[in-house]
């Protein structure tokens, strides 16, 4: 143990504890900016400096290890002055037009400026306005707001192993940018949006698509429907000021109704459908000697990754569309017929925890009439939060209501799509029972739950033991993809999600996502599953009805037309 003092308080911590960690443990607040709980210590912003007795220099508390007998002062005049000066310097090179910034009231720099009492800046602005990168459908990089904290580089490099962003230039001219200062579209960016999720300011944000949604809602000729992804029901509450992990499924429905949507549906329904199609695809490939392992296709970040980095293994990817796109395709075919509507007059909006879904909806393959997109607009959890705030809805006190029919009944299996391992578990619940023709004794496949980077499990299918694996983050996806590419993969089925923790940690989720918050959302997702009456996709009566009514059989002709797709190499 190390004994030392912070602000005259006796503190005792374990060896190798930083001053910042020690202070936080004892509820002493030291402001930080570049520091982020899940990422490496950079000590670049220098905001967290503290004074150590006997030292002339100030030390960054994030990187300085507490030593026996140290006397630390976190609020001496010297420290306060340095912190304030540093923040003034940052603000003098920042496009600080707060009121019209999407990060207004959600910006760590703004909060810090307020906290440190900066009422005027001694330094004139030195900002040289540079063009904005908005060439892709998912993310906008506004370099004029960038404060060079390096979080986005770190998340792209160490969590996702993508290395799309890095520092270019030197001194005052440095820019955090794709190579040679080009656009994200010139790089293998997967639009996972993790950079937007960790950016402390508004330098990387999702492309705002709320305007076309407002327009559609106010267009009397359009039938505007919306689908809500599994992960959104455990995060929209958090976005709107409730505790992380609050389950707000029915509140989301009411809020969407209040916004003016004609019908509110659950993506969980097409998640169940995905399990039926994908499960049958797996069974088909096992029994007929098809390409194995089969890899999931629900995550558009992963699809963007594999198309650009591992086109050699595209045959392994399930041909199933993602639940979002299955919903879009059904909405503009089955649903249109049923409701006697012209598909052109149906406007489909999705609420997704994801920025890459914006790209997915724009793909040419995702148009059943080859012209109009099946999903017209994708909004992130954060964008829906914005619309709810715009309408002045008191979300916490709103009375809940159920999803609309005909896609009304969903299962627990579909709900867990939102957490890493969920698609695998849902598929196993179905495939096990269909293949082995016996009921599962315990439907909880806990082996594939949890936040380990790569998880594996062994299941008995038709008398033989097979191995399956689950990976989340692209750095882990790379490991499993390499095995598949080299022919050394021991698995028959692999689930991959690009974001840490799966969709609940998606790039479109509320700001400030950390490992702790992800865990709370995961716990909530499994609680949703537990509370469902039906917890296996193949037992969903509405799914059965859909096949009887319209699709005929899994992997049948109609299914292929509407629910399956293909991929192509986009290697750069």
């Amino acid at each position: 143990m190390v004994n030392f003092k912070i602000n005259n308080i006796d503190i005792s911590v374990e060896e190798n504890t930083t001053i910042l960690q020690a202070a936080r443990k004892h509820h002493i607040d030291i402001p930080t900016l570049c520091n982020y709980p899940d990422l490496e210590i950079k000590s670049e912003c220098r905001v967290c400096v503290v004074e150590i007795n006997g030292e002339k220099k100030l030390f960054t508390s994030c990187s300085t290890i507490a030593k026996e007998g140290m006397i630390v002062n976190t609020n001496s005049p010297k420290v306060l002055n340095a912190r304030k000066t540093i923040l003034e310097l940052i603000l003098a090179n920042h496009d600080a037009v707060c009121a019209t910034c999407p990060k207004n009231l959600n910006c760590e720099l703004q909060t810090l400026a307020n906290k440190l009492g900066i009422d005027e800046n001694r330094f004139p602005t030195v900002l040289e306005v540079k063009p904005i990168d908005n060439k892709n459908p998912a993310l906008i990089r506004n370099i004029n707001r960038c404060i060079k904290c390096g979080r986005c580089i770190d998340v792209c490099k160490s969590i996702q192993s993508m290395n799309v962003l890095d520092v270019m230039g030197r001194g005052q001219n440095i820019e955090i940018t794709p190579a040679y200062g080009k656009f994200l579209t010139d790089e293998s960016c997967t639009y996972c949006g993790q950079c937007s999720s960790v950016c402390p300011v508004g330098a990387i944000i999702e492309k705002d698509d709320t305007d076309p949604v407002w327009e559609a809602l106010n267009n009397p000729n359009l039938h505007v429907i919306v689908q809500v992804a599994p992960a959104v029901r455990v995060s929209l509450g958090e976005e709107l000021g409730m505790e992380p992990g609050s389950i707000v499924t029915e509140k989301v429905v009411s809020a969407l109704k209040y916004l003016g949507f004609d019908a509110v549906y659950d993506t969980d329904f097409t998640a169940d459908l995905t399990i039926i199609e994908e499960g049958n695809e797996l069974i088909d490939r096992i029994t007929n000697g098809g390409v194995l392992p089969i890899m999931t296709s629900c995550c558009p970040g992963w699809i963007n990754y594999v198309e650009q980095k591992y086109p050699e293994i595209l045959d392994h990817i399930s041909s199933c569309k993602s639940p979002q796109q299955m919903f879009g395709a059904l909405a503009k075919s089955y649903y249109a017929e049923k409701m006697k509507l012209d598909p052109k007059n149906i406007f489909v909006v999705s609420i997704m925890p994801c920025t890459a879904k914006k790209y997915e909806a724009k793909r040419e393959e995702m148009r059943i009439d080859s012209v109009n997109p099946d999903v017209d607009v994708v909004l992130t959890t954060r964008e829906l939060g914005k619309m709810v705030r715009q309408m002045g809805i008191n979300f916490e006190s709103i009375e809940g209501s159920p999803f609309d029919k005909p896609f009304g009944i969903t299962t627990g299996a579909a709900a867990i799509f939102g957490a890493t391992g969920g698609v695998m578990e849902a598929a196993l619940r179905t495939v096990y029972e269909v293949v082995n023709k016996e009921e599962l004794k315990d439907i909880n496949f806990t082996m594939v739950r949890g936040t380990d980077g790569i998880k594996e499990a062994e299941v008995e299918l038709g008398g033989q033991k097979v191995k399956v694996a689950v990976a989340h983050t692209l750095a882990n996806a790379k490991i499993l993809s390499d095995q598949v590419k080299n022919g050394t993969s021991p698995y028959v089925f692999i689930e991959i999600m690009a974001c840490p923790g799966g969709c609940i940690g998606g790039g479109g989720q509320p700001y400030g996502t950390t490992a702790e918050i992800r865990q709370k959302r995961i716990d909530a997702i499994y609680k949703v599953d537990e509370n469902m009456t039906i917890r296996k996709s193949h037992e969903n009566p509405d799914i059965k009805a859909l096949y009887d009514d319209y699709l005929e059989k899994p992997l049948g002709h109609k299914s292929h037309q509407l629910l399956h797709t293909h991929y192509h190499s986009r290697k750069k």
Partner: protein, 414 residues
């Protein structure tokens, strides 16, 4: 005689491109003596010599050596020849006049610390020194002083020449390590220090050219004899790069303790056209600016420490009364704006604002409040910057605010 030639004794006396010429002048004798000693005894001699690093900061050399020798596995030795500090040319002179002495110092320290790979990181602009050093390495390898099984003692040590593209910050330890690894020259978070985790996260020793050149003398003549030269706190000699408005500009070697005035007037023969001194900048752009009345100060690490800078590189830049303090400060600060790597806030954004403030003084637009902002910002940059660049770049501003404060007030608009 004020001069005392220890490191520069062979300058002009031998052919720097001929290893035979070096060997005839006691060359590689120290190495032969060293490999007969126990490695720890060599470091003991360095400790007894009390030699301090010649790169400017004046850190006792034996501490880093001992730290490195205590580490196991792959370790690296780096000679810092990225002499980017304006006004310094001593390292170039050693490389061009007595390159084998540097290499001999490196090989001795490789033996003493158990390192097998060395680099000499030479400033991008020093093409001539680079060419010389490549030939030096080749000759030493051919003669068995470098490479495999050195002097048949069963130890291996290789040296490679590395270079940046002329970035000043690459003279800073961690930026240099990044650059050697092939990355852009930007510093790292400390701790860990290079002797713990340096090149490829392995223990790494970085010393200045002049420090390495001193080691053979210490080994050959003993640490005790070396410690007799200079002052108790700063032993040995110092190479002085004398430049600016003096008659005899050039490189001089003097024992520590010599006064700055003697260097300027006895060796440099005073100012051109008998002008008077306005100011003297010590160490280079990152060094203090002192007035004429302080010139009796002796060249000594302890005296230099008052300035929190790299004064110890031994540059003396004499500036006569035709110049204004702001002329010099603006040149210095524009230099740092250009050379900042951009990684940490105070250095990246601070230098730009310092230049803005100086321009206000120059154009007589500055107020007393600007004077306060300038002083305040200078201290913040010094106290909070990540690496040595920002920690020392403000020395000229801070020292000028102390010794030339009236010059600032003269420009303030009331």
């Amino acid at each position: 005689m004020i001069q005392m030639k220890v490191i520069s004794k062979r300058f002009g006396q031998i052919n720097p491109l001929s290893i035979d010429s070096y060997i005839k002048a006691e060359g590689y004798e120290a190495l032969k003596k060293a490999v007969a000693m126990h490695p720890s005894k060599i470091i003991d001699e360095i400790e007894i010599s009390k030699i301090r690093g010649r790169g400017g900061a004046g850190f006792p050399a034996y501490i880093k050596l001992r730290a490195l020798s205590n580490e196991t596995g792959n370790k690296y030795i780096v000679c810092n020849a990225d002499e980017g500090e304006p006004g310094n040319f001593k390292d170039r002179m050693i490389m061009e006049n007595d390159p084998h002495a540097i290499l001999e110092g490196m090989v001795i320290m490789a033996y003493a610390t158990g390192s097998t790979q060395g680099y000499i990181y030479i400033r991008g602009e020093y093409q001539n020194a680079m060419n010389i050093f490549k030939k030096t390495i080749k000759a030493a390898e051919e003669c068995g002083y470098l490479g495999k099984n050195i002097l048949d003692k069963g130890f291996d040590f290789n040296v490679e020449v590395r270079s940046g593209a002329g970035s000043y910050v690459c003279g800073e330890e961690f930026s240099m390590i990044e650059s050697i690894e092939g990355k852009p020259g930007r510093s790292r978070t400390k701790p860990p220090f290079p002797t713990e985790k340096g090149i490829h996260n392995r223990p790494t020793l970085i010393n200045n050219v002049e420090t390495f050149a001193n080691f053979p003398h210490i080994v050959l003549n003993g640490g005790k004899k070396f410690a007799e030269i200079g002052t108790p706190s700063s032993t040995g000699t110092k190479l002085i790069s004398l430049s600016g408005n003096v008659k005899n500009k050039g490189l001089y070697e003097v024992p520590f303790g010599t006064s700055i005035r003697d260097v300027i007037f006895k060796l440099g023969k005073g100012l051109e056209n008998n002008r008077s001194i306005k100011m003297v900048q010590l160490g280079g752009a990152s060094g203090p600016i002192i007035p004429e009345y302080m010139l009796d100060m002796s060249i000594d690490f302890d005296r230099f420490e008052n300035f929190d800078s790299k004064t110890g590189t031994g540059a003396i830049i004499v500036i006569d009364d035709r110049f204004d303090i702001f002329d010099i400060l603006l040149i210095n600060m524009k230099f740092f704006v250009h050379q900042s790597c951009g990684k940490c806030t105070p250095c990246r954004e601070g230098h730009v604002q310092i230049v803005n403030l100086l321009n206000k003084f120059i154009s007589h637009r500055a107020t007393e409040k600007d004077l306060m902002s300038l002083e305040n910002l200078a201290y913040v940059i010094q106290q909070t910057s990540l690496c040595g660049l920002g920690q020392t770049s403000m020395t000229s501003i801070i020292s000028s605010l102390r010794y030339f404060r009236d010059d600032y007030f003269a420009k303030v608009r009331y």
